[in-house]
């Protein structure tokens, strides 16, 4: 009698552990929403990727459609090459613009795909033709100052 009570308690303990693990997988983690092995690969080249990181989300109209799988530098062209893993149910036309944008003012950077109108779709391993690099704050400020200076010198003339 005593032993069966122990068995029941241990069984309940293990079951609780499994429930906690399922909770971790479904509610806390992202086991279901994203599987790294699934989907097809696309490539995007940028002059500057800013703060984009591996595993950053790829979004289209704000909806997550994939992840950044790897980032490396092209040794010949000095462009940053980002490999994307896109979920198989989404197709993107060849003139889709891949842009690196920031969520919020200081938030994480992600890759945004702005769908184009072409009737041809990108296939596994192909590359985005139109890309837009990350906004670098220093460059932006520099450009702004330059424009201001140009403006005021134009006024004097």
């Amino acid at each position: 009698m005593n032993r069966s009570k122990t068995n029941v308690a241990v069984g309940a303990f293990v079951a609780l552990g499994v429930v906690a693990l399922v909770f971790m997988a479904l509610k806390v983690g992202n086991l279901v929403s994203f599987d790294s092995a699934e989907g097809y690969r696309l490539e995007a080249r940028f002059d500057n990727i800013g703060g984009l990181r591996v595993r950053a989300p790829v979004k289209s109209a704000g909806v997550v459609v994939g992840r950044v799988e790897s980032i490396h530098l092209d040794r010949d062209t000095y462009e940053a090459v980002a490999q994307l893993r896109i979920r198989p149910e989404f197709r993107f036309s060849t003139d889709t613009i891949a842009a690196i944008v920031t969520s919020g003012l200081l938030g994480e950077q992600y890759l945004s795909l702005d769908a184009g109108g072409d009737s041809l779709y990108l296939k596994d391993g192909e590359r985005f033709i139109k890309t837009q690099s990350a906004m670098v704050l220093e460059k932006l400020i520099g450009q702004f100052l330059y424009n201001k200076a140009a403006e005021s010198s134009g006024d004097k003339k």
Binding site: R3, N7, G17, L21, M24, K27, V28
Partner: protein
């Protein structure tokens, strides 16, 4: 001067002898693990003793750690206007670090010390010698089930701790402070990866279970057979377990999470 050298030499040799003894003992335990595993009933009893009966302390600690994390995290995050990230902050710290480490520390205090005291007292009252006389191998009868009990219980307890912590953070963050529930969960899910974070945390807990289990059975088995010997062995279990858990955690963290971002 010679006295000092003499003492240094004695301490070094003593430490080395202890290390050698521990290595031999661990080898003996591993060699008998399979034989000990066949005695399922004993293992179940030990999981009950060190796992099930640690559940209360683990659940309550987890809940409160999560609640404190939510309050403190909110204070800092709202300064940057990103209180919505509270979910991912709490979940990542729990799943990666606090869950396995705090569980292992509590487990060493709650169950490891008890195992050491039990085996040490068996040694002091010559029960282990009596078993040997009856051709019952004390290592596979007494030591292996207790070691396996710790190894099995700790990962389960760590997952339960992390879940309780997340629920505690939810209660404080969403119900009390009033963060949006959708943002809380979606931020959490966006940043916690099941394989990289949850499974690595589980692996950490497994390593800690191995360390705490081995240390507590070793200290008990080789305790001096006196009341004082058992008491100092129990203290050593808690101290050495805690230190090795923290050291191992640093090593594992560097191996697992460095260069991830």
């Amino acid at each position: 001067m010679l006295d000092l050298l003499d003492r240094l030499g004695a301490v070094t040799l003593g430490a080395l002898a202890r290390l050698g003894l521990a290595t031999l003992f661990f080898g003996a335990v591993f060699a008998r693990t399979w034989r000990g595993l066949k005695r399922g009933a004993l293992l179940v009893r030990e999981i009950h003793f060190s796992g099930v009966r640690s559940l209360a302390i683990i659940l309550v600690s987890g809940l409160f750690v999560g609640m404190v994390l939510a309050v403190q995290g909110y204070e800092v995050l709202q300064r940057f206007g990103s209180a919505d990230a509270l979910g991912s902050l709490v979940a990542l710290s729990l799943v990666r670090e606090l869950g396995p480490v705090v569980t292992a520390l509590l487990f060493a205090g709650r169950a490891g010390s008890a195992v050491t005291a039990e085996i040490g007292l068996m040694r002091a009252t010559e029960q282990l010698a009596a078993m040997d006389m009856m051709a019952v191998d004390p290592i596979s009868r007494v030591v292996v089930p207790r070691f396996m009990g710790a190894l099995v219980s700790l990962p389960i307890l760590a997952v339960i701790f992390s879940s309780a912590g997340v629920i505690g953070a939810y209660l404080v963050g969403v119900e009390l402070i009033g963060i949006d529930a959708g943002a809380f969960w979606s931020q959490m899910r966006a940043s916690v990866d099941f394989r990289l974070d949850v499974l690595n945390g589980l692996f950490k807990a497994l390593v800690f279970g191995l360390a705490v289990g081995l240390i507590s059975v070793f200290e008990g088995y080789h305790a001096a057979p006196t009341a004082e010997g058992v008491s100092s062995a129990t203290t050593r279990t808690v101290v050495i377990s805690s230190l090795s858990v923290l050291t191992l955690d640093f090593i594992l963290t560097v191996l697992m999470f460095r260069g991830l971002n």
